[in-house]
Every structure is written in structure tokens, then in C-alpha cells.
Symmetry: D3
Subunit: 256 residues, 6 copies
């Protein structure tokens, strides 16, 4: 049993940890196509796995992930026309986050980290936090950190993994970064032989609605995942875990 | 790898199953105190495990669970004053379910089963389905079944498990039924030695707000879980699985 | 004139009563088919009549009923396919109740009882109270009781009225209990010769959407109302009135 | 029994009437202070009584009134600081009306009249209708009339009742018009000896928030009700009934 | 540069003015047909121009106008069937106003004036203020004035402008008052030669939905604008400016 | 008079343009601190000016700007603690955009461009468009382009303007790009002598709530605007205008 997972421990164990100042992590993912080689749950699985690794390092607690995210956009997730992509309205995600933050505050949590694993979630999660903080009112002891885990990858690591130059996080949907991290955490869910071999998608700087599905490769992969490996995954994850641990310790004044 | 779980398979595998008429299951649980001996995730864990067993029997697909449910009420879940109980507003749960049903419809799913594992969820899930069906409009091919898994336990089984008489599902929060089923599915998460030994809670037929926390045992257990066993869990689960399988086959015209 | 009804008295009379600690009752009914022999307003009429009888006993005040309830479900009210059934969305009922509770609090009411006369209302009324109490904030002197009036019928009375065994409250829609109580309160609205003579409806333990209208008798009556009488109605009402009076006195510390 | 009231008849009677083209009336009132001499329910009582008189004349049906209206404003209803005034948010009233109109449409109602008895309701009722019509979509056979009953009083009648000049409908809250109409319909609820004897309230052309409660007479009466009589009430009601009957017949193409 | 406009000055200039007690004005208009001779922005343009003139007189600040208003109604704005009329739902306008008032309060503004230039906005603006004041809570120093600018025109002025009798503000949409005021403020946007020459629209005292577009002149002008002039505009504007200045000085205790 | 502005022309002129296929532009800005040297309206002013320049080039129409945007975030706009920054909730901006798009569709607009001038708006505008498109339904002829104007600046231009390297758009709040463009369009609103001379703000990759106001320079300027000039503004604007014109012509199949 993984006793860093909130859903695996009793309320009495949870309360004890909260009262001793434990940091609580809420992974926020999506159920979204990730090409023919990665599973639909990739975003929630990675956000959860990263949260657990960080929690282990600092004796934190990981709450159950929000598994459904904001609507997939063509330029970062392929778009809403894919079968399997299962998204919620902006208002729904805002409400989920607001309610969750409010509840953690009621528990007495003082250090809360929202770990986003789906690019499209960021602004609705931000609004959920803003509304919860307004409801909680000034003077509360709760501090919330919101992060996108891929932001903690160091530029040296990107240089190593992309010797020909990093194409940018926007095109990294179901590509080398996510595939390598899944090979690190959940290799049995990755079908390496299904990785499509086509060049990267090209997008204009604007968006069109109804979305132009012809802009998006039929596979759902925005740039090739060829060259992914568990080793690269480990490099990436190492940056992310150590980066988050450091940020959390610094902002929440934890003694290492 | 469990290939009945939607979050573990690629969108292409999922699409193939949906197009061949697979039944999709959405477990809807809660994060709620379940006494000192059961984990906070009990409701979502049981709804997910049952959904997977049913899916295996009929080649279905299980979507990621909704892990946060409607506010815990004193008489069926202990109430909102417990640390760890993490609930959402009625409007939030309604919206989550509405969005999810709408998305499964977009995928082409024709047979959808919402498996409720938390008593307080029922009416908000119902409204979520009602709103989604209104949005989808008449003439759609989607049919949705909503069920509470414990309703499938046969009376003969209850007679066996409760030879002195079944106290009623209302008081079964964190008691013999849930504990036995957790011993069947997740024995490593059950702390048998933490089961409190106190008589059942007694409630009037009405409710008071602010809730009367003194009505609820401090442990959060509404009637004793003593006497729980994996064997009893198996009996219960067997009824539930076979009952749901039969209902699903009948209503969705599946050939066994 | 009935001077226990809030809508029949002036604000000055109302204020005087509130300031002297009067209990305020809010009946919450529905406009819903009740078979060919009972009127569409049955749920609101019964909740109002019961509230008035209780108010007379303890010098309370009855606010105007909410006459439109949550969507009728096949297994407890026949379903939304009947002409005449006029229901509101869950969010609407939640908002109505939240607003009303907030206003009674502003008036200085300290003892408020919500009397539910429509089974489907319960959870949305609960959420309305929860939201109002959150808005009002901790420390307020308002206490709210929520009740379903039929819960106060004693088992001995059910034994008398159903010598062959009580079929359960679920099937009691437009059946012996409601018909007898209407014969007690509003005999001129009951058409005894219109009572249909068919066996009880049978429902599975799950629900289907779109609702299976073929599960529901075309009359809208879920089990026969034959054998209803004003005498039985009096028995039922006597239990209910005395039960509510006792509960209210106890919880609100009234001296009889 | 009044068989023009929807809540007093069975769904089968109601359906028969709707199918034969009956006009349905929905009274929309308020629970609001009306001075020391009129009851809190005045607005809903008058809207209901007028609706019933019109329904009798044209074989229509009157649905249960909405008894809670939009927030009372100082210049037309005294304001929200009075005890007993029980109002709902704009969004709540909008939702109530939208839901009701949608349901009447589902019943097959083609002629619906919303009878407003509370000045502050008008725009939120309008929005409720607008939203329902949008939901129903173009091409529906439902036509809705929205009216404020006092608008049907003829200027000759006003001249008779106010020989010194009509002070305007704005100040008629709890004054001669409402008091006279209540004396006509519900004389037992009017306390003539409680009518305050003070000059009319004077208001600037703008509004201030928080509301300036000092602008409003402490009695809640905006201009004196002295001189009210059942005879005047009959004059007013006669205009209103005949005016609405004529409008309804004309707009809905009824043959008298 | 017009340094009374909030959008033209820096936050530091704005803060200095707010801290010295400056009155802030928020014009609330519409984008709505105003006949063939007036521009679509008339309501926002007039509300803004008037706000600026008042601000100049008392050293106030004018915030950017809300340029989209509540749905145009046939009897006061022609209705929603006109091309160019661009309206928002009631809930949207309520939210815009609530958010704006909340923000001005956060800035430390103590004197806020909402200047309405579109008849249909009034009640939704009122609700927006009510909700903001509830959120802000009792004890705040913010006072808000809400006004419709045309209400400040003196009866003597109307007598001068309408020697044959004032037809009432209801029919003044795109007619003499608005046209004259636009000739005063924005003569280059008025096409005098496009003024239609038809008699006034006639409306019953009730409304019908779907709206009866045949009630409304095809031009969108409810009564003729012939006879409009910049001189009349100046007369009207003079009344309005001086009236608002006086009201603001009085209510906000400004020393002239 | 600028006859490319929708609010300056009559509905008949607007209708004629829409019917001939004109592209409609909706600028979406903010009211937000932009340092001591730029006005609070910068975002809406720039989005409007750019929209007008593009409209002139292709005979389009510019609708009135949305002048209030989503909440300012520390890392891109300084944050909500500044006086003068006047923001709306996410739900409010979503609703505004949804309503506007729906209305332009009703007008018969087939080519709509939303021009965003405030970084924080992007995702809420996206959701507003998504909701409007869902309401409008499939098969509609309306196509919507959403763009952030700064995305059209070419890399060669950035190289010219930032010979020492472009610090990234994130830090460009109230810095060289915005200041130069304001010097191009509205030089009289720029106070060059107020430009603060401090180094750029440094932010971690995560965010904290309550926001860490100490991360943000007290001036509100995220990186220095020194070196701004109207010439640089012209270079930037030229890229943006030509880029948008080209994109609009291409996507909407306009013949130049």
C-alpha cells in the first residue's frame, strides 16, 4: 500500500499528517487522446506519479486526481474531435478546483500544491483558486502553489534530449517528453511500435472555430515521439521532482 | 496492465471498442471519512473495482472515477465536520456528470452505466444525466443506466451476513458491508484492529442544520464493522457483479 | 381568516411573532400528476395543511409553499412524461431554498422548519439549506429542521393501514397514504370513483435514461389507492402532527 | 372546489383542457410588506384572484402562483429592510419562470399568460420567458403573454378613484388601489383601522445603495390608503378582468 | 487628452484621485439599433458624454463604458429582431456590474455612480449592485448611486420641446430627445436626412413572446425624430448635467 | 467620423456591410495598471486601434471593445493588488464573449475576429467561443478567428527592437512593445518621463496564492520601457496589421 495517497489512508491518519503541517498535492490531469502509443489517462497518470514522488521526498499527501480537464485545443492537445478525449466546461473545472481548495482549507491544510498535467487546465485552475481564496477570505493561513510540472525541466536537460533544438512545449503533446516520462513511470502502457512517424504539426499563430481538424495529424501526435526512452524519462522526472521539492521547501518554509 | 480501464488504453483502442458497442462504466465515488479502519477513498475504490469486474465479464470499458462526491450527511456518511471528507457543491457534481455524459455521447457511446458508490451522490447524478439528455436532445441512441451498487445485494445474502437482522443501508457507512467488500478487494488498506466497538448511531427521522455533530460517533462509523470478512465481501460482490451484469445485458440487449 | 398563514397577516404581526421566537414553517411541494383521482397540487396541499396543523399547535407561522418541485422520477412520482407534472431544475430549487432561508434569517427567525411533501425534493432542499448556512456564516442563531412528513408515521399505524404488509414509501405515490390524507384534508378534491384498480408497479433497482415510460402505469398510480379513507387519513395525520410537534419542541427547546 | 385551479384538478382533467386549447395563467407575486393593514401575501393573492376571474370567463386554468418575487425596492415596495419581505435573487426568479414556461410547453400548452402582481418582477420574468423561448427554439406553437395587471385600469377609472389626480403607480404600494382590490377579494385580511395617515413618500429620481431606509415611511406604505373601499376595488377589478379577457381573446384568437 | 477618462490616465493618477475622494462614474449603454439616422452606439455614447460632462464639473473620473446592454424590447428599443442590436443575457449584465462594483470598492472608491443610457438595463444593473453590496458586506464605506440620465430632464424643458405634449419616455427611442442630444454631442454621427417620417408606434399594455415584430416600425424609430435640433439637445443636456451634479453633491456630501 | 466603427454607424449601414460579407472585429482588452507612464486603458486602446487599422484595409467593421478583462496575474500584468486594475470573474468574461458571438451570428455575420489585447483573457475568450458555437449548433456558416495581436510580430522585428535579445512576451507588460505601440497610436497618453528605470522582474516557474505582491515591482512595470519610441511602435504595428490582414484574407477566402 502506498501510504502517501490520501485515498489509501484513513481520515485519522490524514488528520494527523495535516495537523503536523504536511503538504497536500492535488494532481489535475485530463482524459485526452495521446496518440496511438500512449494511454488516454497520460496527463492524470503523470501528474499523479510526479506528485507521489514529491510527496515521498517531503512526507506529503497526494489527493485523488481530477481526471477530466478542460477542452483539448488543436494546437496543444489535438482538439475536441478525437474519440476518447473527455473534457469538461470551463465552469465545471473552476467549480471542482474551488470546492476542493475550500475543503482542504476546512481540513486545516496550510500548504497545498495543485500539480497540473494538462496544458489547457491552467487558467481555469487559476480561477478556481482565486474564487476559493475569495470565499476563504483574507487572513487565512492557507497558501496554494499552482504549477505545470514540465516547467521544472532544466534547459540543459532539454539540450541533451533535443540535440537538434527543442521544438517547444506546445508541440510536445504525445511526443518525446510525455512518452519518455510514461516509459519511466508506466512502461507497460506505452506501445512503442505504435509511435507514428510523421513530421511535426504546423499551426498559425491564431485559432479558428469551428476548429480546423485538418490542421491536426490524424494520429493525434503533434510532433514525433521517436527517440523516446525511459532514460530520457528519468532525466526529465529527476529535474521535475527536484525542482518541485526545492520550490515547495522554499515557499512553505520546510526544513529539509 | 488492466486493459479494461479507459485511462490505460489509447484512443484508438477505445474508439474500436466503442464502435463495436462496448458498454462504458463511470464510477462515481467520494473522498470521505470511513472510520479509523477504512481509507478515505473507499467509495471510489469500491465503485471502480466493481465496475472493472463487470467490465471484464462483458468486455466493457471503465472510465476514470469521479473521486469527489456530494457533501457527506450525518445520517449516511458522518457529515461534513470530519477532517478528510472532501466534498463538492451539488452544482459541481451535476456539471461534472452532465459534461461527462455529453462527451461519451460525442464519442458514439450508446451504452453508458453510472456506478454510484456514495449514497449522497444519487440525486445530483440524476440531475446531471437529465441535463445531459436534454442537451443531447430526443432521438439520440445513447441510453444511460444509473445504479447504486449495494442495491444489487440479494436479501438472502443480507440474511446470511446479518443473522440478527439487517440494520438498513443507511447505517452501513464504514460498517460490515463496506468493510467486507474492502477486505475482498483491497485487504491491505483495511486496519481490522482499528475497528471501533460501539453500538450503532441513532438518528431521528429529520435533519438539523447546522448539523448536530453530537449525533455522530466520533469515529465516523455509523454501526459496528466487527464481524467483517473477506468471505462476506465475496458474497456481497458476487451478488452485485452478477446483478449488474444481468441488468446491463437485459437493458442493453447484449447477447451473453 | 387563518392567522397562522404568513401571507394572510401583516408584516407587523409577522415581526411580532418572529421576535417572540415563533417557529416558521416552509412547505415544499410539487405540481405533479397524482393519478386520475387526486389533484396535481397534492404534494403542496398536504405539506401546507400539515404545516398549518403543526403551527396551530405551537403558535407558529406558515410561509407560502414552494409549489413546484424537482423533476418527477418514474419510481417515486411517475416521471416527467406526464402532462401536468411541472418541475424545476435542481439548480432552481436549490436557489429558491437558499434565498428563502437567507431571508428568514434576515427577518430574525431562529427556528425554521422545511416541510417536504415531494420525495424528489429532499436532496436539492438539503443543498439549498447548506448553501444558505454557508452564506449566513458560523455563529448565527438560526437553526433549520428539514423533514419529510411521511417519515413521522408510526410503524403501528402502518400495520393497521396495511394489514397485508406495507409496500414501502417508494410505491406510495398517489396510493393509500396520500389518498387517505387528502380525504382527511381536502375530500372535495378526491374522486374516489376514479381510483384505478391495477396491481402495483414493479421496478428494477436501477434507473434508465431516457426514462422507460413503459415501466409506469398509464394512470400514474404506482400502487392501488383502493381502501383509502378519511379515517385512515386521520390516523396518519395524527402521527405526523404529533411527531413533528414533539420534534420541534425538543430540538428548538420550546416549553409545551 | 374551484375547478379552474390547476392544483385542484387531476392531470387527466388538466390534459383534457390543455388539448382543447385552454389558456393557462401563471400568477407571479411576492411575499412583501404591504403596510400594517394589508397582508404579506397581497401581491400573490391579487394576481391569483385576478387570474381566476379571467380563467372563469374564458374557461382557462390557473397554475399555482410563484409566491416569492424579486427584491423589494424602496421606491415601489419599501425595500429589503422590512421584516417579512421575503425575496429571491434575480437569477432565481429567472430560472423559476424559464423552467415553468418550458414545462407548460412540454404539456402542449399553446396559450400561456404570466400575470405579474409585483412591480419588481417584470424584467426578471421577461428574461425567464426569453430564455425559455430560446430553449424551446423557433417554430414552437407556444405563445406567451406577459402582463402587469394594474396596467389594464382605464384612465377614466383612475380619474374617478383619484379625483385630485392619480399620484402614479409607483407610489401605489399598499395604497388605495391595492387596498381597494383586497377589500374586494379578501376583505377579512384588511385591517382598515391600521391604515396609517401620513402623506406620500417623496423620492429623488435616482436610487442609492445601500438603500436609504430613511426615505421610506416606517409603516411601509408609500402613499395613504385612506379612502379605499370595496366599491373602488370592484371598479378596478372590473377594468382589469375585462381588459385581460379582451387582450387574451384577441391575441390568442379565441372566439368569445 | 481627456484626463477625466479612467482609461486615459495611469493607475498612479487614478489612485491619487480615488484617495482624494473623487466620484467615479460607470456609463452603462447598449449596442442597439437607433433608426436609420442614429448610430448603433447611441446609448453608450450619450451615457459616456454625460458622465464626462458631470465629471468635469466635480473633478470626477469616468470608467470605460459597458457597451453591451440587456436585450432590446419592442416597446422601448425596437426588439431583438434588428440586425446590429447586440445584447447580453440578464445574468451576464448582472455579473459585469457586480464585478465592476466589487473592483471599484477594492480600489477604495467611496462614491460610485452608475449612469444608465439604455432603458432595458435598469433592473439587471440594480441586481448587479445588490449582489456586489452583499459580497462587500455591511459596514463598507462605498455608496453607489444608480440613475437613468433622462430622468433629470425638467418638466418645463419637456414642455418647451414638446409643445403638443410629451409622448412619454417609452416611445422616445431614437426620437427627438436622443436625436437632439446626439446633435449636441456627436452631430457628425447623425444623418438628419435619414429621419423617417411616420407616426408613433402604438403598443398594447402587455407583451407577447415570441415578440410581435409587426408592432414595431421597420425603421426601428418608435416616434418621429423630426424637429430634433442641437439647441434642444443642449437644453436637455443642461438639465441632466446640472441635475446629476446637484444629486451627486448632495448625496455624497461634496462641497461645491 | 470613423465609419469603420460599428457604434458610429446606423443599423442599416451595418446590415448592408454584414450582408456583403464584411469581417467583424471585436477587440477584447482590459482596464489594468500599465505602470506610471501608460494609461489604464492600454490593452483595450491597442486592441481597438489595431482592429480599426485592419478593418480599414479590408473594409471590415469594428464592434465596441470589451473594456474589462480577466483578473491580472502577477507574472503577466502585475496582479490584482494594484489600484485601478478592474477585472471580471472568468465566468463573466466567458458569458460576455458567448453572448456577443451568438448575437453576431444572429446578425448574419459569417466572419468574426476576436482581437485579444490582454494576455489573461485568452482561455476565457476561448471558452466563450466554444459555448457560443455549441449553442449555435453544427452547420452554421459563422467562422470565428481568435488572436493575440502581439503574436504577429515577426522575429526579425524583435531582433531589431531588442538587439540584446527579446526577454519574452511574458515580461513585456508596460514595457518596450506596449509603450512603443502606444507612442505610435496615442502619444499624448504616454508620459515618457514617468518610465521607471529598474531591472526586469524575476519570477519562479510556479505561482503562489495569495499572490506574492513582493514579486512585482511597485511601479507595475515588469521590464523597463526605456528605449521605447514611436518608430519602434510603427515597426511592430506594421507587422501586426499586415499579419492579421493576411491571416483574415486567407482563412475567410477574401480576394485582396
Amino acid at each position: 500500500m502506498n501510504n502517501f495517497r490520501m485515498d489509501n489512508i484513513s481520515w485519522i491518519d490524514y488528520e494527523r499528517r495535516v495537523q503536523s503541517g504536511a503538504v497536500v498535492f492535488l494532481p489535475i490531469g485530463a482524459t485526452e487522446q495521446h496518440g496511438p502509443h500512449l494511454p488516454l489517462g497520460t496527463d492524470a497518470l503523470l501528474a499523479s506519479a510526479i506528485s507521489e514522488d514529491v510527496a515521498k521526498a517531503i512526507d506529503g499527501v497526494v489527493a485523488p486526481a481530477l481526471s477530466y480537464g478542460y477542452k483539448s485545443q488543436p494546437k496543444c492537445g489535438g482538439g475536441q474531435h478525437f474519440c476518447g478525449t473527455t473534457s469538461v466546461d470551463g465552469a465545471t473545472l473552476i467549480a471542482m478546483v474551488r470546492d476542493a481548495v475550500r475543503e482542504f482549507h476546512r481540513h486545516g491544510v496550510k500548504r497545498l500544491v495543485l500539480v497540473i498535467g494538462h496544458y489547457e487546465n491552467q487558467w481555469f485552475v487559476t480561477e478556481g483558486i482565486e474564487l476559493a481564496m475569495r470565499d476563504i477570505g483574507p487572513g487565512a493561513e492557507l497558501a496554494v502553489m499552482r504549477l505545470e510540472h514540465w516547467e521544472f525541466v532544466k534547459s540543459q536537460t532539454l539540450d541533451k534530449i533535443f540535440p537538434d533544438g527543442f521544438p517547444g512545449i506546445a508541440l510536445e503533446h504525445a511526443a518525446v517528453i510525455e512518452t519518455s516520462m510514461m516509459l519511466h513511470y508506466h512502461p507497460q502502457m506505452v506501445c512503442l511500435d505504435q509511435i507514428p512517424d510523421h513530421g511535426p504539426a504546423e499551426f498559425p499563430v491564431y485559432d479558428m472555430y469551428p476548429t480546423r481538424t485538418e490542421w491536426v495529424p490524424a494520429t493525434g501526435v503533434l510532433s514525433s515521439a521517436l527517440g523516446s526512452s525511459a532514460d530520457k524519462g528519468k532525466l526529465l522526472v529527476t529535474d521535475i521532482i527536484s525542482g518541485i521539492v526545492q520550490a515547495v521547501r522554499f515557499e512553505f518554509r520546510l526544513t529539509p
